[in-house]
């Protein structure tokens, strides 16, 4: 506690202008930056998988299974930063027991459960069921036990059963697209519905969150596909990679347009809050918004992929470029979340001043813990890839 007070006294000296006395402490820190970031990666990865399955974009086939497992790995972790930031984490179950029907945050719990239990797990299960049966016959040890259990006693491997799996899996994917939209649109609504905060309160927030989620998810699966190919020492399917990059390009354009529209709208209407927001964007958020999010995370990747649409250099160069783009897009979207969550709390609701944010290394809200929440899903993903490698699948949907 003493440390916390000391931190606040330090922040008190950094106050610029006037802020309400209760506003010195930033109530949402790095954990709440991670929460929409990770949830966005889930929704984005899932939508990439759906592109292949529902919209029949065959070039994306090599990434279908990878995208689903990536979504699952990140979904397992998605709520952990949220729960760990609670002052009373042990009471978090109350969100499910007595949800407040008017609270955006309360309904998120149900959206999350629906997405995890019904959409993602079922889709993966239908996709893998036949393989689990086949693998259970050839493997030993833990894998054998796992495969046996996970088949839930449905051991048919004939064509007819595979067709049924395929049909049901397809149905779930179709259901999954609006669900993924709902999942991340909802996260946007949690911020967009706060009328007290002019930086958050915009009707575009859910749509912006949705498209930025797709951007980050696609970039992540692109990277995962490249890394997995290198580890497996197989040749990267360039048609696949070019197609992912093309979709990344399109969706990044939509995302950038929406965010620009939001800012232009603010600029033109220049409401009461505009004066302080202008100072926020030009000052405290200058590096994270202008440089990290817009230039580094949006304009550079857009220019490179845009250039590739006109002129295609050698495969090797493209691969390196895509790898670089994947990373900077992920960094850019991370800072987009940062700018929303932290940016929205830096200025006072009195619209007359600023507080400051200094992240710490240790503790539940620190950099180290954030790194844990970002590395953990990658470990889960590695485990899932070992347990149920999509490239070893026998049955592949039509």
């Amino acid at each position: 506690m003493e440390e916390h007070y000391q931190h606040l006294y330090e922040a008190l000296t950094q106050v610029d202008g006037y802020i309400y006395p209760n506003e010195i402490d930033l109530h949402w820190g790095l954990m709440i930056v991670l929460y929409p970031y990770i949830t966005g990666l889930v929704a984005g990865a899932f939508i990439l998988a759906s592109l292949e399955r529902v919209f029949n974009i065959k070039a994306l086939k090599p990434t279908y299974g990878l995208a689903l497992l990536t979504a699952l790995a990140f979904l397992f972790v998605a709520t952990l930063p949220l729960v760990s930031h609670l002052q009373h984490p042990l009471r978090s179950y109350e969100i499910f027991m007595t949800p407040n029907p008017t609270s955006a945050m309360a309904i998120f719990g149900f959206v999350y459960l629906w997405y995890l239990m019904v959409v993602l797990l079922l889709e993966i299960w239908f996709d893998y069921r036949r393989d689990f049966v086949i693998w259970s016959k050839t493997s030993t040890g833990f894998k054998k036990i796992f495969y046996k259990l996970i088949t839930l006693g449905i051991n048919e491997t004939d064509e007819k059963s595979a067709k049924l799996d395929d049909k049901l899996g397809y149905f779930i994917t179709v259901l999954g697209i609006p669900s993924a939209f709902l999942l991340h649109g909802y996260v946007g609504f949690i911020f967009g519905s706060i009328k007290a905060n002019p930086w958050w309160s915009t009707v575009l927030m859910p749509v912006i969150f949705l498209f930025s989620a797709m951007v980050s998810g696609i970039a992540l699966v692109m990277l995962v596909y490249m890394v997995v190919s290198w580890v497996r020492k197989v040749k990267i399917d360039m048609l696949c990679l070019d197609t992912i990059a093309k979709y990344l390009f399109y969706i990044l354009i939509i995302d950038f347009t929406l965010e620009s529209l939001d800012q232009i709208h603010r600029l033109y209407e220049a409401e009461e809050s505009f004066d302080i927001i202008k100072v926020l964007v030009g000052g405290k958020l200058n590096i994270t918004l202008i440089y990290m999010q817009v230039i580094f995370g949006t304009i550079i990747p857009l220019s490179i992929i845009g250039f590739f649409q006109i002129y295609k250099p050698a495969e090797k160069i493209r691969i390196i470029a895509y790898f670089f783009i994947g990373i900077i897009v992920l960094i850019g979207i991370f800072f987009m979340r940062w700018n929303v969550v932290i940016g929205g709390q830096l200025f006072s609701k009195s619209l007359s001043g600023f507080t400051s944010f200094k992240a710490v290394y240790s503790g539940m809200e620190g950099y180290l813990m954030s790194a844990v929440w970002l590395i953990l899903p990658l470990l889960i993903l590695s485990f899932l890839l070992w347990l149920m490698p999509p490239w070893k699948k026998v049955s592949i949907h039509e």
């Binding site: 499910f96 007595t98 149900f110 009328k195 007290a196």
Partner: protein, 259 residues
């Protein structure tokens, strides 16, 4: 026979999974709306017509910025003494001759506010006590995911500290900066109009100690109360009226500089 058995199993499996998924779905669809149903029942049980409707008037022309209200509040309600936690505080507004507005509230005004701008530069100066506005359409109550913060039948916005999960969403939702995270109880905390006092017929601590009677507490339903008279005799305004929170703290002499 084997295939027959498997088919049968399969059918049963699908049936039971469908029932399970359907059940879960139906439950999750119904669950969020149960709250609505409950509120309705409570409404019927508790006839609000017999309750008072508490509110506060603040006469800015009387406030001298002594900060006694903020101090009394901290003592009365066990608010941590560190200068980051306030249920009520006093802001000092100074409009300079060049039009610049300076707002200050060191330590919430506790110990008395002192003018830092030289006299010859001042166009006008005034004090503004702030507290929870006990909104009729409270954004914090709307946002709380578990319903730990609520409006009492007598119109006071309260927090159930045994129930709050400490997510800070209400603090984000409050347009007035009236809430803070209590570092001791680790739950959202705010002005209760000294609920423990008013339910015994006493005045809130801040009203009790105010030497100039700048705060007028009372029952908005009682036409003879000092508060209703105050509202009758003065042109009053609420803070941030554009947010449509229907606040129950009314200011007399509120200048346009106040945010």
């Amino acid at each position: 026979m084997g295939t027959e058995r498997i088919k049968k199993n399969r059918r049963t499996f699908f049936k039971s999974s469908a029932a399970l998924i359907g059940g879960t779905l139906l439950y999750s669809l119904i669950k969020p709306f149960e709250g609505l149903a409950q509120t309705k029942e409570e409404d019927i049980q508790e006839d609000k017509t017999n309750f008072p409707l508490w509110g506060m008037g603040v006469d800015l022309e009387s406030c001298i910025g002594c900060g006694k209200c903020a101090e009394a509040c901290k003592i009365e309600n066990n608010v941590p003494i560190e200068p980051f936690y306030f249920r009520t505080w006093v802001e000092q507004y100074t409009v300079k001759n060049n039009g610049e507005v300076k707002i200050e509230s060191p330590n919430g005004g506790i110990g008395g506010l002192k003018q830092s701008v030289p006299d010859d530069e001042i166009f006008k100066s005034f004090m503004v006590p702030k507290l929870c506005n006990h909104c009729t359409k409270a954004p914090c109550v709307q946002a709380c995911p578990v319903g730990a913060t609520f409006i009492s039948p007598d119109g006071v916005v309260l927090v159930d500290e045994t129930y709050c999960i400490g997510c800070s969403y209400c603090i984000q939702a409050c347009p007035y900066g009236a809430r803070y995270m209590n570092p001791v109880t680790k739950v959202a905390d705010k002005c209760t109009f000294c609920y423990h006092r008013i339910s015994k017929g006493l005045q809130p601590a801040c009203v009790e100690v105010c030497p100039t009677d700048a705060r007028i507490f009372g029952n908005l339903k009682d036409k003879k109360s000092d508060l209703v008279k105050f509202l009758q005799n003065n042109p009053t305004q609420v803070l941030k009226p554009h947010l449509n929170t229907h606040s129950r703290v009314f200011y007399n002499g509120l200048s346009s500089e106040v945010k």
